[in-house]
Amino acid sequence: MATTTENKALPIGSIGTRSHSENLWLVAIRRLFRQRSGVAGMIVLAFLVLVAISAPLIAPYDPNRSLIGVEDIRKRTPPCVHALGCSTDEPQHWMGVDGNVRDVFSRLVFGARISLFVGFVTIGSAVIVGTVLGAFAGYVGGWVDDVIMRIMDVLLAFPFLLLTIAITSALRTLFDNNEGLEDAFKSALPEFVFNQRGLVYAMFAIAIVSIPAYARVIRSTVLSIKEEEYVSAARSIGNRPVRILFLHVLPNAFPPLIVVATLGIGGAILETAALSFLGLGAQPPTPEWGSMLASERNQLFSAPHLVLFPGLAIMLTVLGFNLLGDGLRDALDPRLRL
């Protein structure tokens, strides 16, 4: 890992000077903690991760369990918090209940797991594939670079949501209408994954459409780094291209990649919510925030709390990632180095 050195002057009479090296990643982390937006983003995300991890402990009810016959409560009842003046005769539901008499707060809390899982897995996959493609295109160059980047340009020529809608629908048509494939998936995958295959198709579509952004970032960084002297030196002593790429070139591409990926996770959560809202991602009764919004959209005027809270949850999560991404951008900016 690249380090900085600074010469500390010693008192007169000392022999020579000592050098003090410092890991740049530690410098960046310290700078991140001095960024207001970075700290705000980390607080928001830490809170969300905590909520997601402790969902079974925090949620007062099973998110998928209808309370018909269990409590004396009507469907789409607004929030009732006893501490805020709601009658103690009524059952307490901090964010009300939905059209199937399920506790909204419990569903929101479990929905945090889905959103964070979707964001990290989708963008993680896109980063891995995009890094390989971008690094290969940037390092090899020539017609390989042209072909790969033209394919990326084709994907970027479409509006993001349009392409994700089309790919998700295509995957549904291919697999759900094909009994042989459907049976094969059912036997190969865990049951809960098979039941969520709508969400899996959406994640796959978003990952594919996100790949070009990361391929471009990596490619442009590789192009600028591969002509550096230390890369030429590594080549001249006989290192193989793959080793040079992974040991010397790619580590220097990580800072911009981390920033773009962090911002991308927020985008992926928004896109998944949009696809679920349109009926293409998560299917009921999955407590995915976009799907919750879609189910109760027609009750907007009579039960606005059923639209308000899931939307606030989405906004808060995406805001956390955006703030963190902004903070990382400033913390990892080489122009601000020391």
Partner: protein
Amino acid sequence: MYKYAIRRILHALPVLFGVLVLAFILGRIVPGNPCKAILGEKATVEVCEKFDRDHGLDRPIPIQFLAYVGELARGDFGNSLRFNRSIVQILIERLPMTVELGMAGLLIASIIGIPLGIISAVRHNSAIDLSTMVGANIGVSMPVFWLGLMLAYVFAFLLKDTPFWLPPSGRVSAGVTAVPFYEVYGWEFAGEGVVSNVAEFLSNMFILNSLITLDWEVLRDAITHLILPSVALATIPMAIIARMTRSSMLQVLGLDYVRTARAKGLVDRRVILVHALKNALLPIVTIIGLQLGLVFSGAILTETIFSLSGVGRTMFEAITARDFPIIQGFTVVIATAFILINLVVDLSYAFLDPRIRLD
């Protein structure tokens, strides 16, 4: 400049070809079996074989692709399976709505975003700067569909029976009809051609049409119906434009020539608006042009929420209803428009910034 333009155009051609291939593939995969998608699951093998022969689907895939490209080159996008009407005709009816919505959204985003960005840059690290950037971050994080629903709740429900009420759906109120300008002025076109199609396209942009015909009732009604969807659509681009304007202005305001202008005694407003803004506008103009992708994605959701019959909603319904001629035709048109707009943005950037075209 010409060499740069030719290079960019040649660069766009393989991308356009890739778009045609992808549109063809999507149009074949998404509907599954087109015969069963249209005629129903009970269509027999013999009926489907005849259907495939009639639509050329029994030919080898490369031949089908060549036929598809040939039809596109002739301007024949085929007929919608749901509406049984020409795709071109459906585009002429629906695209104007999306264009109006997109332009209104971008206009609102620019009119609010650019001044906010300038003020933030000039009052760097002040309360205004902080609140603008916090607001921009929140704006970028908001789901468009949620914002649209919340705006509809506030303005169509909570503010009902007040002067601030706004309609939550449709392009115009029931009973209000936008008469095409060519009918108002008695213009006739010989048959269906490019001129009549263009005239019909323009007349389906209700705001433009009512300005031409001086129909103030339709103009007021159309604008009133467009406010909520365009504000919902404008929020994310507005936040991005404000941030870009701020960062671009900060860069320019730190340059020596701005310091010189101030040292010469020029009024601050003149320094900012005349000297700094001109150079800061280049990346801002580019980002506005590149927001079209975001605006179209948002249009799919906004049109669905506000029940507007635009291209976005039609495309989404076609995908879910497996109407593959619409999927193919609209995909090609939308993606081609994007490629062309990106090309224009690139070329205009090179035209405005000599450093780019000499690179």
